[in-house]
Subunit: 290 residues, 2 copies
């Protein structure tokens, strides 16, 4: 294998170690612990394990966590009331609603009920709007994690052609908005299910980011030799193991650097959630002082 | 010349005629006239003529307009107070602040003071955020005008490669966000001053949108035969005449369709401002009814 492995698990541990120090300093200074609330709706939620990992990661860096569970039969209004209480709670600086929500609920209303100052997921329209306006408050966690993976491995984006495959509100669109900002300065192409020839784009990319949720979609003949490949996909195989949107073994022979799945972008997403929570606590503290 | 001219002046007149009917119906139904407030700051503002044209266009379609002028020496707080009053005014549904503002003023604060329901320019973070989240309230007027120019000339964007040159908050970024939405379905590349080889991108485009403010930057050898070329640029020549970002005469020999400057995107921008103002009045009316 030729490619350098961009080890997200290792980087996440390093960054969580740094963050634990920052959290300690914050607690010493302000006598308040940053707090994250997680909300899980539904009994057999596929994201239960993620939420557990997030809570565990909070504990590891010294962030206080509270958890709310609602029945899968609850109403939009039930969740809205839970969020209102968390919005008011001064010990909670970030609120995370584990998606997806049961189909009968109004996801947009629920996401928008979160106080924008506590939108540490960075999915809410207020966070997206500030990002689009060029002065982000909270970056969406997965794009933020992708940017950190690149930066901490000294992979510059300036003047590079970055092809983002996927146009979700959670990854593709916010990542494209980050990449075109001044100082980041990538030339960005966004491909998706209606793109007529995805390979024509990925073959021209200096950096490819795959975020479509199709197992091993990106093959070795779809990239330029030496390209950097970031795999956001998490797809369950028949044998219950995980694979990304990239055919890892063969692409790693052509790429110069590549993220594994698992152990690539995933741990970075959680880490950036923790960073956003500390940032939310700082912003809260700055407001309180005024 | 081979290219079809996408005549924005003509289309704007047609659409303003349609809009005048819609405004009449709205007034008949609700006994309220849609209203637009314009704010101009500074004595020798380069946008004075634009504001005049906007006010005249309002009158032509039956939109009530109010105009506020402030001295170039006023403070951010002075403008904020004017905006607060307009935010409260039930006869004003849209508020337009003519940019640029004098350098000593806090443009972000001023733009964000506008009630998001009255942000008919579509520049504010709330409008950008809803667009990024896939459920726009007000589209920024220039990108909206570009989309109308394409749609009304039966130029589909589905599966097309659209290269947007320019990454401003007013044109490039919101246009890219519109183009990748489901149903619009373009594959989008965003180029800018740090792109290493712009021609390499524009040559691959089915549709090129130029929005960088550099006179006649796009030459005939930089596009693919048959491409559609949209010119958002407005650059003043030494003789005081206007030219776009496209070398019109030569590009029109290669393109299949092209917008002139003036008379292309410019009149569409004003028209979409009027559409957004009627839309704001409708949303206001819908709220009042609840």
């Amino acid at each position: 294998m030729k490619a350098r492995i961009l080890d997200g698990k290792k980087l996440a541990l390093t960054m969580q170690g740094e963050l634990a120090n920052d959290v300690n300093r914050f607690v010493d200074q302000h006598r308040i612990r940053p707090g994250l609330a997680t909300i899980l709706v539904g009994e057999n939620h596929p994201g239960r394990l993620y939420v557990k990992n997030k809570i565990r990661a909070c504990e590891a860096v010294g962030i206080h966590s509270v958890h709310r569970e609602l029945s899968g039969k609850c109403s939009t209004q039930d969740i809205v009331e839970v969020i209102h209480r968390l919005n008011q709670d001064p010990t909670v600086h970030g609120i995370l609603i584990q998606l997806p929500l049961p189909k009968h609920l109004d996801e947009d209303t629920i996401i928008e009920t979160v106080n924008p100052m506590k939108d540490v997921d960075g999915f809410g329209p207020a966070s997206l709007g500030l990002l689009a306006a060029g002065r982000p408050r909270y970056l969406a966690c997965t794009p933020y994690g992708v940017m950190q993976l690149l930066a901490r491995h000294d992979i510059s984006t300036v003047g590079k052609h970055v092809v983002v495959v996927g146009r979700s509100n959670i990854v593709g669109k916010p990542l494209a908005l980050i990449l075109v900002q001044k100082g980041i300065d990538a030339t960005v192409s966004v491909c998706h299910s209606r793109t007529s020839n995805v390979a024509n784009f990925t073959r021209q990319a200096d950096i490819v980011v795959m975020a479509i949720g199709q197992a091993e979609f990106l093959r070795a003949n779809m990239i330029k030799p030496g390209a950097v490949v970031i795999d956001v996909g998490m797809n369950r195989r028949a044998d219950n193991s995980w694979t990304g949107d990239v055919a890892f073994a063969e692409v790693a022979e052509v790429a110069s650097a590549i993220t594994p799945v698992p152990g690539g972008v995933g741990p970075m997403t959680i880490t950036m959630l923790l960073y956003n929570t500390l940032q939310a606590a700082r912003l809260h503290q700055a407001q309180v002082k005024i």
